[in-house]
Symmetry: C2
Subunit: 305 residues, 2 copies
């Protein structure tokens, strides 16, 4: 299923998903330094911020200033999360050309996250996608808590299937299957992807994984084996979800990049520069970061893998 | 490839591979307490010690006293590593009924580990297996540095294939493909197993994984998908290899047990009791242990997964 030198597109969501749960406010200049370090490491795509309510997520209150201050190197992709049409308007005003909408797969998670029921959340995501496309933006749609919900437990696979196809029909360029609380094992990824692949091509799917149970990398490998080539990851494993009790850090960008490199898959990422980006992220949050491979990578930065 | 409720046999090698690299000598009573805690957690097989030279591995100097002091619950398996016929004699005298021989896949690793060249090491492993079988013992044969060698780099897959089939022909009941320094990615496991499975049934193969690059669990999952049902793991990820620079901890027993549980595979292991075994191991070594899942497991010991 995997052919050497195939491209894998890693979107670093550290500046958004990684930072949003940090209690200490990171200054805009710090976020810009992190994004610059990620571009320098060759990271092809970054989710930089989210245009949510500053009251709900104070860490993202500078989205309107941050976004236009980012220089995007040729061929790279910069995106932001937008919860609704108002967020989309702000994103477009800030110069954003790619947006992600979020739809949680359970009633309770939508209520807690955006104070809407599932039906209203679907309508909001559809409307936002339609407006984004009308303005020529590239789009992604997250299906959050796609494996388990902190409030409702196991998420029915058929629900994830129905929501994913609904978002694809609404025109989302990528459906991001999100293990928001890091509950999935590779067997769960296999089951959910098998179902989704009945209706959607692997190229349209992405995986967003958290390492709560230590299975994020094994889950990514399962996705790769089933043809998924788009993954969210976070520099140094930075992350968590402020609305989802028990959510730990994201899949670390360095862990996935190393796995891909050893499998002969091309990510564009340079490991030595990625380590410098981890250093920047550590400075911003004030504590040590790092995926499961970081100790080894620090000792083998010049490796030919 | 994976059927729910299939059995996966995890051999906890913590008391041997985990402890052998510890500088502080662990008293025999401490090792017995750890082994008792592992039995209590349902662990089906334990590699308790190795009958090597006390000068070479001081931590294993009590093998002759430790082995006969261990009570083996019905249906469980207790084994020891033996480097040669002399080690085998000691093991048998100590009451051991299952032994593992070690054959490194590279010339230099054999020289460093047992001061023999590869040809002599093959002959020694063969002789030891023959004597063990003559006495009715169950046997395993490790193929060490099966993916990469700290001295020679990449290990040729055909060499691993040849050594594995040689050990199977010499009567080894299980061929343990060992990533001694934790260099493998799942793509490497796939490549090596594909080759071995040309000659050997999956039931005869085991995987021994280290987490140096954070890929141990993804590697185990790859093995499971290809039909491997025997794995070495170490309580709390305890481990390393004193002869292999750069080797980090073993695949953690709790990480593999959790992955299996979520996949519907049966390991016999009870997670709440396994956490108590980790506590015992931490007391012995004096520092915190734990695989990538432990923080989550500690918060969810009573889970129904």
């Amino acid at each position: 299923m995997i052919t050497a030198s195939e491209q894998v597109r890693i979107t670093d969501v550290g500046p958004r998903d990684g930072l949003q749960s940090q209690k200490t406010l990171v200054p805009t200049a710090g976020k810009l330094a992190l994004i610059e370090a990620l571009w320098s490491a060759g990271v092809p795509a970054i989710e930089a911020t989210s245009f949510v309510s500053p009251q709900a997520v104070p860490q993202m209150a500078d989205a309107d200033e941050l976004m236009p201050a980012i220089t995007v190197p040729a061929g790279r992709s910069l995106s932001a999360l937008v919860p609704n049409q108002r967020g989309l308007e702000r994103a477009v005003r800030a110069g954003c050309r790619e947006v992600a909408v979020v739809l949680s797969a359970t009633e309770t998670m939508n209520q807690r996250n955006i104070r809407m029921g599932l039906a209203e959340a679907i309508a909001t995501a559809r409307d936002t996608l339609r407006d984004a496309q009308a303005q020529g933006l590239a789009t992604r749609a997250y299906i959050a808590v796609a494996f388990a919900c902190p409030f409702e437990g196991h998420t029915p696979t058929e629900r994830v299937h129905a929501l994913s196809t609904a978002m694809a029909e609404a025109g989302a360029g990528e459906i991001v299957v999100a293990d928001t609380i890091g509950a999935a094992a590779p067997s769960d990824v296999q089951r959910v992807l098998q179902t989704l692949l009945q209706s959607l091509p692997a190229q349209s799917l992405g995986l967003h994984l958290h390492n709560t149970r230590g299975m994020a990398l094994a889950n990514a490998w399962q996705g790769l084996q089933m043809g998924v080539r788009r993954f969210d990851a976070s520099i140094g494993g930075l992350g968590g979800c402020p609305f989802a009790p028990g959510a730990a850090g994201n899949l670390a960008t360095e862990d996935l990049a190393l796995l891909c490199a050893q499998a002969g898959l091309e990510t564009q990422i340079r490991m030595d520069a990625l380590v410098r980006a981890i250093d920047v992220a550590e400075t911003l949050v004030g504590y040590p970061l790092g995926g499961c491979s970081l100790r080894w990578i620090r000792q083998n930065k010049e490796m030919s893998i």
